[in-house]
């Protein structure tokens, strides 16, 4: 058996020491993400005066420019960065865990579960709120957790590694099953609600304040904390569970951490912004095409590029047809798709 590139990287056979590569990559991708987050709040459907926005002598309640900057734009940009980073990082982990390039944050049924929760909340006009979470995000979070728990229960047996094929198939099947339930709920709902449910599926970052962000931040942070120590093990896992086990990876534990971390992160992102597609599946591939396959670099780089990408897409979504918005989920795929194909063809 030949040692594949990620495995070689994990063993330490990289061309340059990992620390230097990591620093260089983080500088470049971090710069792109920071640039996007700095530029995006300056541009919008209306033009505001920055000096007035930061003028402390005007009371906040009277300062429209400050309100537009701090209540409308900044939370949006932060939500885009957080959701983009979350989805892209989960994409990296799941593609490695399932050893499948088509895996995305939504492969495990989490998005369909959260969508079902949101649909039910919208259709039945749920009014239960919890702390910073208003009813629809709360319901979507509940749906995501329920779906993840279900898939997890199906794919694990005590003391044994998860079966990735069972995980994959259970996720895909659950996705279809939930999608059918979603269609059923939509079909039975009043059609004004039906339209709103469809709109929810297109993704929306206009969160209107930092409160919704605070509601999901603990989840995403917890998820990331579980994913952060995994890249070396993922490098070995992407070769195969047996190969990883012989090199001392606790396969069952790694899989568990990856799955739960991915589920938490995705649930938070989807509750915040809706099931925005494309970021989670393509940004990781984009990063691999650019910098190789070592997950120790790919994971943080993907998170940063995902943040920059979604912030950029949202910028387009809110300005291109202003005052009408194009849902951000449409922009991500319409813009990212052709670009990715171009890169794919050029590299191939």
């Amino acid at each position: 058996m030949t040692v594949s590139q990620p495995a070689a990287a994990a063993i330490g056979g990289g061309i340059r020491p990992i620390r230097a590569r990591l620093t260089a990559t983080l500088l470049v991708f971090g710069g792109v993400a920071a640039g996007a987050c700095l530029v995006a709040p300056l541009v919008g459907s209306t033009s505001i005066s920055l000096s007035r926005a930061f003028d402390r002598s005007v009371p906040f309640a009277d300062n429209v420019d400050a309100q537009i900057f701090f209540l409308a734009r900044l939370p949006r940009v932060l939500a885009g960065a957080l959701a983009g980073a979350a989805l892209a990082s989960v994409g990296v982990v799941l593609q490695a865990l399932l050893r499948n390039p088509l895996a995305s944050p939504y492969t495990l049924g989490v998005s369909a579960g959260s969508a079902l929760g949101a649909m039910l909340a919208i259709s039945f006009g749920a009014s239960v709120a919890f702390g910073p979470l208003s009813p629809v995000p709360l319901a979507s979070l509940a749906g995501a957790c329920a779906a993840a728990a279900l898939v997890y229960a199906l794919a694990t047996k005590p003391g044994r590694p998860m079966s990735t094929s069972v995980l994959l198939l259970a996720g895909v099947t659950l996705n279809s099953f939930f999608s059918a339930l979603i269609l059923f709920v939509q079909y039975m709902a009043d059609f004004t609600e039906t339209y709103r449910t469809i709109r929810w599926l297109m993704g929306d970052l206009d969160v209107g304040g930092v409160t919704p962000l605070l509601g999901v931040l603990p989840l995403i942070a917890a998820g990331w904390a579980m994913l952060a120590p995994l890249p070396s093990s993922l490098n070995l896992l992407s070769v195969g569970t047996d190969a990883a086990a012989t090199r001392g990876v606790d396969v069952a534990r790694t899989q568990r951490m990856a799955f739960i971390g991915a589920a938490l992160t995705t649930a938070g992102a989807v509750a915040l912004a809706g099931p925005i597609g494309f970021v989670g599946i393509v940004v990781p591939h984009l990063v691999r095409l650019m910098i190789g396959v070592d997950h120790r670099v790919v994971l943080p780089a993907s998170a940063l590029l995902g943040a920059a990408f979604l912030v950029g897409c949202d910028l387009i979504s809110r300005t291109i047809l202003a005052p009408v918005e194009v849902p951000v989920g449409i922009v991500t795929a319409m813009l990212g798709g052709p670009f990715f194909l171009w890169l794919l063809v050029r590299k191939a």
Binding site: G44, Q67, L71, S134, T192, R199
Partner: protein, 304 residues
């Protein structure tokens, strides 16, 4: 009713046995009964798939001819007793055919069912929501189609008079900049749907003495961002809620959601109005009272 059905069945049976005609020709047979229809303008058995049109039928005096309505119909109270035959997305063609209507009122996007009914020899009346003028002309067209031209004329004049009365009352008042909301996510300011500068809601607002802050967007529905809301700074927020009746506490909570946009004149002056009732969003004969409700919220002093 029962006797009529029995004789219909009898005639059908006779036709079948006597001439051995196919089911197709039977379906094409005059659905209204025995004698050939005297005039196409005398629909006697009407099925309405559009709540706004149902309301119009009752307003022009064609109520007794309505034999079935859509699953969304709630007004007037008489519809409660009528059979339901689906609605926009799920019309139950079998039930409609079984009811043997001679006129089915459909929405403009229901082309397939119009074709299907046409093949069964049943006339359809296709309609799409439009502005107030379209509403008045639809009422007139329904009058012709159902033999209630005079009733339609009366109803249209009454509605026009209501609208004129509202317009006159607020004529001298300063016109506030209004955000007219007809849907949003509960307890948050996300996914807000507001009226653009087209359609009956926009026109009702104009009559009620308000300036729509999205009048420049020539669409019936706009989903503005928080930024646009802040930038356009409405003096008044009017929220229409068609479904359900919220308790006073829920209403207060939904109103409080707007307070995050503290710089909006509407928020600062406490001019967030939540109006409830399906009459507010059905473009039927009740747009007169709905327009008055908007005007009362915008110009309470004009109604003292």
């Amino acid at each position: 009713m029962a006797a009529r059905q029995k004789s219909l069945i009898l005639v059908c049976a006779l036709v079948l046995t006597a001439c051995g005609t196919s089911v197709v020709t039977l379906a094409r047979a005059n659905p209204a009964g025995f004698a050939p229809q005297t005039s196409p303008s005398q629909a006697k058995r009407i099925v309405s798939l559009v709540p706004a049109l149902t309301e119009m039928l009752f307003a022009i005096g064609a109520g007794p001819q309505v034999i079935a309505v859509s699953s969304y119909d709630e007004f007037p109270p008489e519809v409660a007793a009528l059979p339901r035959v689906g609605a926009l997305l799920d019309p139950d063609v079998e039930r409609i055919l079984a009811l043997r209507p001679d006129l089915v009122l459909t929405y403009g996007s229901q082309g397939p069912i119009e074709d299907q009914l046409g093949r069964a020899g049943i006339r359809t009346f296709s309609y799409r929501h439009g502005g107030l003028q379209a509403l008045l002309s639809t009422m007139a067209a329904l009058g012709t189609a159902t033999g209630h031209a005079a009733g339609a004329g009366r109803a249209a004049r009454a509605l026009q008079a209501q609208l004129d009365a509202v317009r006159d009352r607020v004529r001298e008042r300063p016109r506030p900049k209004v955000l007219l909301v007809f849907g949003r996510q509960p307890q948050s300011l996300q996914q807000i749907y507001v009226s653009g500068g087209a359609g009956f809601l926009h026109e009702m607002l104009e009559v009620a003495g308000g300036d729509n802050i999205f009048a420049d967007v020539r669409r019936e529905s706009v989903q503005p961002s928080q930024e646009t809301l802040l930038a356009r700074a409405p003096d008044v927020v009017l929220e229409l809620r068609a479904a359900g009746s919220l308790s006073a506490a829920d209403l207060a909570r939904e109103r409080a959601v707007w307070s995050t946009l503290a710089s909006l004149p509407a928020v600062r002056n406490g001019r967030i109005h939540l109006l409830q009732g399906d009459h507010l969003v059905v473009p039927g004969p009740r747009v007169g009272i709905a327009t008055e409700a908007l005007a009362r919220a915008l110009h309470p002093e004009a109604f003292k």
